[in-house]
Symmetry: C2
Subunit: 346 residues, 2 copies
């Protein structure tokens, strides 16, 4: 077997010298693998929501047209990176082969069911045939193969949950894992977009950690989401708030905490212009964790400086050691969340 | 005196209900101040470099035209927020009046010389006359007045350094202050853009903190900057590196640290596409501190996930308690840095 690079640069065809993610073309020849690669027999692609929406629009909803757009992208690039949105998604499949340099080092056997947790935008993929498209859950069933690099992350699929449910949770598993690291006993924690997929998981983790002397405040925008949040009993206060209204955010949390403000603010919304609200809700020397991909770096940096707020602001890293298992465990521990997620996301 | 809002929303004219920074028009009536405001007799505006460059271009370098563009912006908005770049700058002046609600609470007397450390893009400003423009250092001498809000931050100007030198350092004082919090004894620290204004200050702080068992690696792009870096003796290794070349960054630091990589990476470059290099140089559970305003939130978040790097990534907050004094102190302690900064920035 040929010796591969940890980050997969040996598969980059164009432009030379870059990593697989920014590359425009990667090598998707699956007939032989490098010594540190994992070959996957793929059956499901979970296309990133932004990417799938764009393709659906371009195809005017026509299923055959969606198929041909996807096949065309993969044929040209050797991977499923949407050229308009730049995003990918994840995949489900079974292990077909583990490179010789990885044998004994990783806990994977031929036949194991896994989901890859690195983006499709960097994963070499070969599609033999598209079998089916499920537009309502952004899923594409295929016959095909993919390569996971040595640095690539994955999760073994649990056997006690449906694969679709597991996938939905794995998609956002970085957020609860980072929450677990940030929140301490006695903290006041505000979760913005608390009724969403990642928000509920963050609240659940925070509520367990803050204990009796702490407080978890879940904030969301619609009555429906607030209801949902109350149902699963993951916060002390479920409040209605518009995360783009910085002053409303500040005044509401100021009142609810008797002027103390939050030790930790976790931003899980899916819209722009929520940096300032997040910052104002946080006390000096507290932490604001931005999981939302709609966060603007400059708005956060200049925003905090503009109001003289001495807070630590973290960029949401989708990866944290053990994040997959700990997130799946939340569903095992809470019957209520599991039921809700089965209704909403499968 | 009328009662003002901590964040200055009482001065916002348009649109109603937002903070002074995003506002398009603020009230710059200086004839009476609110109880929590500070009135400043302004003599120098230090226009943000991006803003000044844009105005200079628009005026085709004509000084009179630059003056009229500035006067026009302030007349329309009541503040000096460049409508194209969105940025401001800072100002120098003397305290004229302190609102009644702040008396005894803050350490400022009439006549004290200060520099404001919040952006001009949110500071109510009235210009009576522009006296002089110094395009080579982005400075505008004026006769005018400004308002500092209760949440606004400032630094008293030191008497043992020239005001221009103090201003140059105050412009980037968040970076060394955050460095002081992050770096521990024995750490391996990489500073990217180490030969720049903020980079040298960060290196100086890090070198003192890592002690004998630690290592500070300063990386920059040009031979000139590497020379400069060696001259001031603030790092153990001064190396030439292109921060946009992620693989070069990784391989160089991997070799220099015997595969250990860095505990802390501080990014002080002034260009785009340096997220991935910063992430790859950092060890798992290390910290990457992005001070560069050219950082892309999504590139950092997806980049770390794509290579499975479990690092904490911080958004550079320009404000940290005590940041002004600690930065000025670096110049007092190091004759070499002080000399260099006098040559370069005054
Ligand atoms: N960093 C990473 O690695 C990573 C990985 C995956 C996802 N993400 C990001 O994380 C974010 C959340 O993902 P998710 O799957 O949890 O999304 P989600 O289920 O759509 O949750 C977002 C929540 O925010 C609420 N919201 C919308 N506008 C609001 C407002 N003005 N004020 C308060 N709440 C508001 C939404 O309410 P409605 O239902 O009424 O709209 C929803 O409950 C997204 O931006 C996503 O891109 C990051
Ligand atoms: N977060 C905040 O509150 C805040 C406040 C102020 C400034 N900043 C930001 O901090 C950054 C640095 O500010 P500064 O005043 O220190 O700037 P600076 O003096 O221009 O320093 C930048 C350094 O990066 C070097 N560089 C450029 N391209 C490089 C490359 N490809 N590889 C390695 N090094 C490279 C530059 O070298 P050359 O001299 O050869 O170009 C220079 O030495 C800026 O992005 C600025 O916007 C942030």
């Amino acid at each position: 077997m040929k010796t591969g690079n940890k980050y997969g640069t040996h598969r980059v065809i164009e432009p030379k010298g870059v990593l697989p993610q920014p590359a425009t073309v990667v090598d998707n020849n699956m007939s032989e693998i490098y010594d540190n690669e994992i070959l996957i027999d793929v059956d499901v692609l979970n296309i990133d929501s932004a990417s799938f929406t764009q393709i659906k629009d371009q195809a005017k909803g026509n299923i055959e047209e969606i198929k041909s757009i996807i096949l065309d992208i993969v044929a040209k690039q050797g991977k499923m990176k949407n050229p308009v949105t730049g995003s990918g998604g994840m995949l489900i499949g079974s292990i077909e082969k583990v490179g010789s340099a990885l044998e004994g080092k990783i806990n994977l056997q031929k036949g194991d069911r896994i989901a890859t947790l690195v983006s499709l935008s960097l994963t070499p993929l070969y599609i033999e045939e598209i079998l089916d498209i499920k537009p309502e859950i952004d899923q594409v069933k295929i016959k095909g193969k993919a390569i996971l690099f040595e640095s690539g992350i994955y999760a073994k699929l649990p056997t006690d949950l449906s694969e679709t449910l597991a996938l939905a949770v794995l998609d956002v598993c970085g957020a609860p894992a980072q929450t677990e690291r940030l929140v301490k006993e006695g903290d006041t924690v505000v979760v913005l977009g608390a009724g969403g997929k990642s928000g509920i998981l963050c609240c659940a983790v925070a509520k367990e950690l803050v204990g009796e002397n702490g407080m978890v405040i879940g904030a969301d925008y619609s009555d429906e989401n607030i209801e949902r949040l109350k149902q699963v009993e993951v916060c002390h206060h479920a409040i209605k708030l518009n995360a783009t209204d910085a002053l409303q955010c500040y005044e509401t949390i100021d009142k609810l905490t008797n002027g103390q403000l939050a030790d930790v603010v976790i931003n899980n919304v899916n819209i722009t212009n929520t940096e300032m609200g997040s910052i104002l809700m946080c006390k000096d020397r507290g932490t604001v964790y931005f999981f939302s991909m709609a966060t603007s770096f400059t708005k956060a940096a200049l925003g905090a400086e503009g109001v003289g707020k001495d807070v630590d602001m973290l960029i949401g890293n989708g990866y944290a050691m053990g994040h997959a298992d700990m997130s799946i465990d939340i569903l095992r521990k809470s019957e209520k969340i599991r039921k809700l997620y089965e209704e909403l996301y499968t």
